[in-house]
Symmetry: C2
Subunit: 591 residues, 2 copies
Amino acid sequence: MSYRAPVADMIATMRHVAGLDQLVTDGLAPELDDGVVEAVLDEAAKFATDVIAPLNRVGDKFGSTLKDGVVTTPPGWKDAYTAWAQAGWNALPGPEAYGGQGLPTLLQSACTEMWNSAALAFALGPLLTVGAIEAVHAHGSEYLKETYLAKLVSGEWMGTMNLTEPQAGSDLNALRTKAERQQDGTYRITGQKIFITYGEQDLTANIVHLVLARLPDAPAGTRGISLFLVPKYLVNADGSLGEHNDLRCSGLEHKLGIHASPTCSMAYGDKGGAIGWLIGEENRGLACMFTMMNNARLNVALQGVAIAERAYQQALAFAQERRQGAALDAPKGAAMSPIVVHPDVRRMLMDMRAKTQASRAISYQVAEALDRSHRETDAGKRKAATERAAVLTPVAKAYATDIGIDVASTGVQIHGGMGFIEETGAAQHLRDARICTIYEGTNGIQAIDLVLRKLPLSGGEAVKALIAEMRGIVAQVEGANAPGFGHTAVRLKAAVDALERATEWMLATMGTKQGDALAGATPYLKLFALAQGGTGLAKKALATGSEPDGANDLATARFFAELVVTEAPALELAVTEGAGAVEDAAAVFAA
Amino acid sequence: MSYRAPVADMIATMRHVAGLDQLVTDGLAPELDDGVVEAVLDEAAKFATDVIAPLNRVGDKFGSTLKDGVVTTPPGWKDAYTAWAQAGWNALPGPEAYGGQGLPTLLQSACTEMWNSAALAFALGPLLTVGAIEAVHAHGSEYLKETYLAKLVSGEWMGTMNLTEPQAGSDLNALRTKAERQQDGTYRITGQKIFITYGEQDLTANIVHLVLARLPDAPAGTRGISLFLVPKYLVNADGSLGEHNDLRCSGLEHKLGIHASPTCSMAYGDKGGAIGWLIGEENRGLACMFTMMNNARLNVALQGVAIAERAYQQALAFAQERRQGAALDAPKGAAMSPIVVHPDVRRMLMDMRAKTQASRAISYQVAEALDRSHRETDAGKRKAATERAAVLTPVAKAYATDIGIDVASTGVQIHGGMGFIEETGAAQHLRDARICTIYEGTNGIQAIDLVLRKLPLSGGEAVKALIAEMRGIVAQVEGANAPGFGHTAVRLKAAVDALERATEWMLATMGTKQGDALAGATPYLKLFALAQGGTGLAKKALATGSEPDGANDLATARFFAELVVTEAPALELAVTEGAGAVEDAAAVFAA
């Protein structure tokens, strides 16, 4: 089943939920006037549908393979990547000084969603390149910028992130890869990295590895980690490619999903040390990584939205075709109806749709906040936007990827027995979606980040400002007096009340009983997402009421409020009264 | 990671939740005195752990393959199956007149759980054989019983169920396979069947297919379906195998999971018609199928429990080994701790444990009710037990298989990046678990069955009796005054109240607004499961308080009540006030 980019909902979400119109009015996105958004999204939609989407199943079936150190991507992938980069899509987010278009993150986000809906394993490589570009652009020397940025921005070369080692996953304290200073100012890198996405591939002429490593005299822990740029091929002074660096792909993982994305074990320095260049300052490598963390986490959130959207479209198309059982109101002996008429199937499809659109709402709000954090001229407004993005990023990353799995699984269910057959394609979405809750910081780490680092920003004011905004939307729904909203206002109000109380509890508890706060971190994040996503959908429905799709937006907001947001009181209890039950586990698992 | 059968919890659940002690006291299970239960379970545990469990990953990796109509099961599977059948395990549930042991379903259920934890794809074949035995035993002619039952009971031959056709999945009205009467009293069967589990295999010398088909003069719809026994090899009068019947495996599905279980397309009658024997009466085939439906659905529920248990064990073992991050209370600079000490990991593990044990509680209660439905001498008690089993069967099937997916997915999450790597084995559990919510009636069908067929039994009294029982347990928890229960009593009471109100609403609504009732069927089933499972765990904790494992049972019951059952009010709202939002979907999906 082919993918159709949901351009109308993307634009409605950008305009009415994420505040694109206001961004333009405020003069912060002058490049987006005169139908630029529509034009870019329509072109991107065409490329995603026509070129990338058909590769998704091929990529899953053939996967990337490793032979004698050479990785081969699936049939058709190299051509598609080359065409995609040549069409300028890789350059969309890049800095203008190096050939990029520097378009707002909000617009990029919709495109990112499309590439990932079309083929998550395809879109993943360029996302890592974006991270490499950001790190080099923000912290690299002039030499590194001049040598690498233009090629990375155009997509002629790809970038990678080398963090994980067997003993160091979520905990980077334990990193062991070594870097030794050389007379010429370069470094020699030695060590093993695992789980390196697109660590080796046949799509681009060179690969630019960003590698975390330790200097011999570095302090222990994360304050002793430095970031290095280690190219696959050294680059000559004239920009041509020179010698192969001392690094190789030593293995490829056999994974549950994203088979086409090569997940490599990388060996650095078999022959004495790979040549690397320091990015930023020695021992400040983690700070460089954090520069790009928010964007990378937003991009993974968009992967969750993307896979959910694709799974939803596929399930809906199947449900409109597949006939089993007669409709309730059909005369006796009537022919079988499309299963979309059965109430339980409708419930499942609305659940998929509402969760997908709510996740899109939250994710695009992160994108808009990031744009404001860079573009506001007033320092106070920049700070507010930065904190807003900081708070909403873990919410978007964890919720969108959690529902990515959930929605893809429901998609399998709607297909019945056919869903379990790989040729149908529904199962691939579930397999692919399963990684997004794990990489770029597990969702448990996101919840801890929200509670311990983000909630305290400006003494809790960043979160309180979001809650006040939610209250404003609830008041508008109450005032709208639109029967189509059903019980939306009362359900949303209950969720926002619950979030406010849970927030107070968290702020009061984290200092004194950190263990209790951490036990409630995951339900707190989910509660936040329900309130944020629920009010986001309501905001959209309030704005589109008079448009052709307005009735559908209303129905979607109502469904989310009445059948999803209703979990809020349970989540509040999990936060404020759940720690005891979690602590009991200490004895249960004591062995 | 190896599987260890949770014999202690199985026995505690049998005794204290499912009422094994009372069954023995009532004289209804005389064969289970003097430590028979312990002895059987210990032997089964040994076989499951030593012989079957190591085959699980092999089975996934190699799968079953088809070449020239011959299916080859994975390396080691034939030897293991033969040893398992020879040890008498296949005969455990069989009727004594044909060499079976006729042991109570309750005891069988614990064994069934073990085989499925060890390897779901392995255990699945024998489960279908059980169904074939039941159908032939209950409805077959003396000739069929004499010819087939002993071999099926011993496991020398396997049985299959042939229901599904491409156009007829959940809706059997649409069946097209033809059966034509012959002079000699046999029938000629012609048609295509799909999704036939173990339809062809190399484990047994013969395969006994039960096939649903239509006679030429049959009425339309499900009242025109007959059931036939169609052996792969015809059986001579002396019991030896004769000619190959006119049937073949025409294809094997490429599935998300249970790769070792061959899912066959079957072609009957390429050469004029496969020879079949009628089971029961003409046009009464569905009634024969329903005979075995409750048992089959219980067995799939046990598959959900089984896969959840195995995923839980694997995640717990990983969390006790894997070190990342220091514990909260560790001194600064301390070494990394096993991740099991981190609150969010504890929460996930307790969630897995509690849902698994709650599902076990519900499933074993179904088994006990089935035993009473066969063994009670008083007709009134037999009827009550039959209705109790009827009500709880869809609850067990849907809830246990839903949490099977949920728990297996959390297991992947606890493994972090390693969880996404197939060699780890955590992902296989998720892939395998994904079928259980689909086959043997999708979980949506289970919910409809609960609401439309089971709830009205004895005018709702069957359900009300269960609710009264739950209230009794809540009162005991209230009276226990045990601090370890935390808020268990109040949370369970809220759930039982919600279930009672939702039940009243359902009974009042199903006659007048069936669409509204069906829109709430799935949340109603889940609400039922939370109340039934939550009170089940509490009942166990009440009984084991003074035993060594009592504290763990208490902690598990508390966690389920405080962090899982708390969804009950949201589910009640979904039942009683959710239909409007579901109905809005009609317009959304009208295009």
